[in-house]
Symmetry: C2
Subunit: 645 residues, 2 copies
């Protein structure tokens, strides 16, 4: 079967499967999971059907407590039911989660995993929320990429029906949830193949019904409660095997093989990193890069965190391992160590005791925290973790990615290290609401459709939202892109607002010889002397190819107001050589018809004219061979500012 | 200073301290913690003051979510604030708990730890609730007895103010919360000595105030959130030391020495049990008994579970240890093992790596579950755990106290084993609302006041409450009573309702030669032939001393209606020899005046007459030397019952 390659973000990838494989969807919005609920709601509002031909009921409750209670109730009647949440929302679901698992109701909750408000609120991603729910008896399946998010949404839905253990399917909020990747879209046919109708019938028959009266939700006294609590054991004993079996059926359909624990790297690695979620992609990329240079590292990606299968873990851990660094994307103050670290130590210990792995001695195992609240986790940091691991006395309970100059937990690392190869990287500094993000999403779509490139897009919004800077990070390449972190070595960088040059040091992110595109009222002859001295120096030092266009003027003249997106998008294609110029121009015009068709011919024409005007007005600036002048940094606080500032 | 010895249950012991050391108390009732809130509310309603002379504000919220939010808000203004909860109530507090800990607000929540509703609801005790909250960054201090509950309520309140880490102070619901023990009552002077007024002033000055404007509760982006999260580290690094220092100040006052980890048993033990909460008392009692017979066991009671202090742990673990059994009173399906088991494995491993303990090799460490939903945990079960631990291939991930004939996790044990010595044990089968429990509480009070005996009372209510059976379990002895489990080898057993003899096999709980008191309309001459054959056999086989009294008739004649409590209480003292008869009779009469004084002279007189009538009417029954006859068990279901039954 030929499947479509389509750009998806994680939320829409999951919603694609969740809406198609459920009947009742109870929602309550919380960033960054809201997209899943919104999409599901919109699909049902549009009459979109699930794979069995019915339109799922989507109902918004008064809180996550109500949403989870509704899920529990619907499951108890035998309906296929799901919800989406994150952070404090998931915490409010915990009481119902104990009930749902205790009563062995099959269900999947899709979680855009987010940090929990502590010293401050953070809407960004880490594993604090799902780790708090790890006591509830739910299966926990971690996706590390947008493709995996779609795949695991289906695998977990198929597995829960057989296992009767409910699942948290989770992926990092504001990375996987919002990162756009070109992925292979699962079809309804795929979903029908994976989900066994007999298991749905069994779920239906377990539903409460006046035709089959049965008592549920009783109160049990000390004489029987413990026994009842243990009666779930066999389901948990079987669960991991069922998930692997489901993954093995999935590979038959799609060719994508997943394991409960995926080991990548040298078969005879001595130093191994264990990690869960999108950070695993970063480590994967880094280790491939380093191993190509002769190193022998390995990474174990934990897919199924609960139930934790010691045998499956032991079966992929190389017998040669001597040192393991376990990375946790959560923090539990006062604990001995974070949960994955603890579990890996126990798993290695129990596997050795049971003879499941042959190691001469218990390996050195250390743990560290990374990426809390979407703190960047890069190949450079991965290298820092590997360097620490190789030391005589490696630091345990470390942090990576920050500088802790108080309790000295942090590891040093060389931030200039990069593991990216053969990937085109572009950055766009836009003004909130100027259309930059939309244009970039459109560019990804064009590249996804017109080339066999993989594509990735990630958009960083200032928390002040509209009117502030938004930075788009795009990557294109022939191979799967395993870089769930911001672009820092751009081949192409565009500045969509001249005044940003004063405020943001953006050119530190561009590589030598890269392309720099600037919208400017100054033309190629006058722009240079209007640039800040520091920018002049960066352009000359890095020998950048420097282009200007007065996008604001063109937009204004064509009646587009401040919407310079079409012009800047066209300029990107014209000077970046990602696509042949003609292909790009016709693709942009095609998409203008699709995007603005509803708004009438006039708007379509204005934008089409903008494309043509761009080609006529883009100018290459002659860059001096070297920088002459002096950089004067403006003081952060004006000399005459009042004390309060 | 001479302190009073007073019978307290855990809830009232904690409320005594919590009300005296706080200013704002936000409550919402949930079994079995409600008593704490009720007592605090009543104290403030009566104008009782805290140790600083103000009456705490007690406010009942709409749910535990609101109670915890109120605590957070009050703490943020610099008020001393607490709450009480359990089970799902605690789960609803988790979001606010992250905030309170993240902002380093000193506070203690007192938890009557209870199981969480899963396959069924249970109002009974285990550690599932507090273990779910272990991710939040709160300190966790476990009390194992009523005395400890009072002591640790004060220690945690004193420690949190210095450490700024908030604490969960927890103790098993429906054991410690409701068990009555004669304990040494802490005075307001004790509390004032323990709580440093300078620390309260510092807490006040950290409070938000228009006089000292300051921003709190911000939203942090990926550039700083992780750094902020790590900024709490030094408080957690210092916390355990502060708790130990507080415990060391406490011993100066009271003579009761506590450690973060208390090790009891052979200094050269090879086999050690690690446990937390009241189960530690059972293991303590069992190991003392077995070691007196020449064994060399040890038990480590975990007091401060979070922050977990590896050094303190290692400092009390004997270097001789070869095998450790860790007992968890919670279940986390899908995990590798329950949390205390995991932590102890990590703690031993890290302590060895850091050279904190000198062991030749990593000891064998196994884990098991016990006591879920107040399932009994007895010396017999402890012995079963120790027997398993000594085996060549001890079972790991076991259960104790149930029979798991499906997944075979359970350990076998000899249920006839007992470790109790020199303790007088009494059981009373009463009808709900017949006054039996009240009379027994009164008996404990009399014994506590008139003798130097320690006393324990625990009351098992049928979940149908009024009108069903209630069984009182009383113990008296010269030494501290470490038996947080039901009486099963009674020296004295009273049946306050003749028909119970048919329904309950109560005499299996009485020892040979014990005293059996029955209320009966049949006198000493006619009662025998009216007894069920099985009861006749038990009485003769066990050579019981058998007494009857027609308490119902006496009560009725005196105008007491169905309230036979005074009569049965008097009968207990007259035939049990716990106290000299005259002392007992005058003490009962004295307490009648106190109890019924408000109801008028007539009621006092009726009850006083009942005491005298009891002495005149109690009859010893001549018991045949041996049982002759045949026991015919009634079928559980009548032969002519309809199919539905």
């Amino acid at each position: 079967m030929v499947r479509k390659m389509v750009p998806y973000d994680g939320n829409s990838a999951v919603a694609h499967v969740a809406h198609a494989t459920n009947e009742v969807i109870a929602i309550y919005p919380i960033t960054p999971s809201s997209g899943m609920g919104e999409i599901a709601d919109a699909k049902s509002a549009n009459g979109e059907k699930n794979i069995w031909g019915t339109v799922p009921v989507v109902v918004e409750l008064q809180s996550e407590g109500g949403a989870s209670g509704t899920v529990h109730g619907a499951l108890t009647t035998g309906a296929l039911t799901t919800t989406f949440t994150a952070s404090q929302g998931l915490l409010l679901m915990i009481p119902n989660m104990y009930k749902i698992a205790g009563e062995l109701c099959p269900a999947v909750f899709h979680i855009a995993a987010r940090s929990i408000a502590c010293q401050a609120l953070s809407i960004f991603g880490d594993h604090s929320d799902v780790m708090t729910a790890r006591t509830t008896g739910w299966g926990m399946l971690a996706s590390g990429s947008v493709q995996e998010a779609m795949d695991f949404a289906l695998i977990s839905q198929a597995a829960t029906l057989e296992a009767r253990v409910p699942f948290l399917h989770f992926f990092e909020g504001f990375r996987v949830s919002h990162e756009i990747q070109k992925i292979e879209e699962l079809t309804f046919e795929d979903m029908r193949s994976m989900i066994d109708i007999k298991l749905i019938r069994a779920h239906r028959l377990r539903g409460l019904s006046p035709d089959r009266p049965e008592l549920r939700g009783t109160s049990q006294n000390p004489d029987v409660f413990f026994q009842g609590r243990e009666s779930v054991n066999k389901y948990y004993n079987d669960c991991a095997g069922i998930v692997q079996k489901t993954m093995d059926r999935f590979v038959q359909l799609t060719g994508r093989q997943y394991k409960l624990f995926d080991y990548i790297g040298a078969p005879d690695a001595e130093n191994v990193i264990v990690i869960m979620g999108s950070g695993g992609e970063t480590v994967h990329e880094t280790i491939e890069y380093l191993n190509a240079k002769g190193e022998k590292f390995g990474v174990m990606k934990v897919r199924l965190y609960r139930p934790f299968d010691v045998k499956a873990f032991a079966s992929v851990l190389p017998d040669t391992v001597k040192r393991i660094a376990v990375l946790d994307r959560t923090k539990e103050p006062g604990s001995l160590g974070e949960p994955l670290y603890e579990d890996i130590r126990i798993a290695v210990g129990e596997a050795m005791e049971q003879g499941l792995i042959k190691l001469n001695r218990y390996p050195l195992i250390i743990g560290g925290r990374y990426g809390l609240g979407s703190c960047e986790f890069t190949p450079a940091m991965t290298k820092g973790v590997l360097d620490n691991l190789a030391k005589d006395n490696p630091k345990n309970h470390f942090t990576i990615g920050i500088e802790d100059d108080v309790t000295h937990t942090s590891l040093k690392y060389d931030s200039s290290f990069s593991a990216e190869k053969d990937v085109y990287r572009a950055m766009f500094y836009g003004l909130g609401s100027d259309g930059t993000v939309g244009a970039n999403k459109n560019s990804i779509k064009i590249i996804a459709e017109k080339t066999d490139n993989y594509a990735q897009g990630y958009f960083v919004y200032d928390s002040k939202k509209a009117g502030a800077v938004t930075v788009s990070h795009l990557r294109f390449g022939k191979k799967t892109i395993r870089s769930p972190y911001l672009v820092s070595k751009a081949n192409f960088l565009a500045c969509h607002n001249f005044t940003f040059l004063e405020k943001y040091d953006m050119l530190k992110y561009i590589i030598d010889g890269g392309i720099f595109l600037l919208t400017s009222e100054h033309d190629k002859n006058t722009v240079w002397k209007n640039l800040p001295a520091k920018v002049q120096k960066q352009i000359t030092d890095k020998k950048l190819k420097f282009y200007v266009i007065d996008a604001v003027k063109i937009a204004s003249e064509l009646g587009l107001g401040t919407r310079i997106n079409t012009i800047m998008q066209t300029a990107f294609f014209l000077i970046s050589d990602i696509l042949p110029k003609e292909t790009a121009v016709s693709a942009i015009k095609e998409s203008i018809k699709k995007t603005y068709g509803k708004k009438g011919e006039k708007v379509v024409n204005m934008n089409t004219l903008a494309v043509d005007a761009t080609a006529d007005n883009i100018q290459k600036v002659e860059v001096p061979a070297s920088f002459k002048g002096q950089i004067v940094e403006k003081p952060v606080v004006a000399a005459n500012a009042p004390d309060f500032i």
